[in-house]
Subunit: 221 residues, 2 copies
Amino acid sequence: MSEQSKTRVLGAVLYENFELLDLYGPLEMFGAVGSELKIVTVADEPGPVTSFQGPKTLAEFGYAECPELDLILVPGGLGTAMQLSDDGALISFLRDRSPAAEVTMSVCTGSAILAKSGLLDGRRATSNKQFFDFARAQNDAVDWVTEARWVEDGPFATSSGVSAGMDMALGVIARLYGEERAQEIANITEYEWQRDSTTDPFTRFLNRGSAARIMRSLETR
Amino acid sequence: MSEQSKTRVLGAVLYENFELLDLYGPLEMFGAVGSELKIVTVADEPGPVTSFQGPKTLAEFGYAECPELDLILVPGGLGTAMQLSDDGALISFLRDRSPAAEVTMSVCTGSAILAKSGLLDGRRATSNKQFFDFARAQNDAVDWVTEARWVEDGPFATSSGVSAGMDMALGVIARLYGEERAQEIANITEYEWQRDSTTDPFTRFLNRGSAARIMRSLETR
């Protein structure tokens, strides 16, 4: 079997109050790869996991039973803060599984979890713009990049907030399956792919803007 | 209670093999409205519904038990074709619930279902570009618009393929909650909102392109 036709397994990590598009933007793009890539969902234990926006996704596997993963996707969201315990289950899972993975990806504040795990030490990484210092506060051994749509460094890819995950996903697909395939997926999904990872229209919101509104809306739920 | 502070209920319709981003792109944007909008998931019956890409979403309600809906969102995807039976449960649900809804929305091939239901008769609507004639074939009493990112006509809003649902969602949010709120949500989600509904970069793929690859990849699953 050639390298090209290998079926990769992508593990999408779920936790309570994950951000919907952080997860599903990249899964849309990776899901369009077809039979060469299979998506599995994984969480602390199998069963329904509630997103910040309300809808529940089923985790097929708990961390312990999760199959081998070629790709790992860690979304962000307001639930991130609950996952940062140094002896927490998600941090342990990532420390255990990431070294064997071809690419470990995060979207938005998901990079705060990767940073806390120590996996990004000495590497370049980015995060959500409006909450940037939240990620930075987890670990100053990471070379934090404030102006980037996404950052690839070795086996890690970290994106800026929410929608940026789609651009990163297409960037990683281009690396694994070629530029032509990535552009074809963008065309099928009628997505205007921002191919330049260094252009970041949202750096102007660094650590400010309307993030406070989201926090307030969470409190009223 | 002022109209402004009314809590609207958005019903996200699920069916087997729905397209992930058709659903979750708009739900990301509507979910950022905060406490003024609540999202519920609904399907033929409550329980897990498998997306085309694999991950399963839980439907909280069956059609019969679904609460009153102010907004209805119908995603598209390769499962659309199975929902087009004239006496099918989804068509009946939409005929029953759409007249009382403030806005009924579709993404991608979801407009084929709305068209088949007769709800779009005499109205302007659009659909996925690469599968456009699939929607058109359901009902020629619809005024099909081949060049549009999304189309709003009375209480209906239909978008082009997959990613276009996010632009439409922000357009509907602008109508219901104001332009400033919609732009703020785009900023929070680091999304470059295409505000002009008439500009369509994907009309060049009308009824052609790489849709055949998706069909082949489905067959090999």
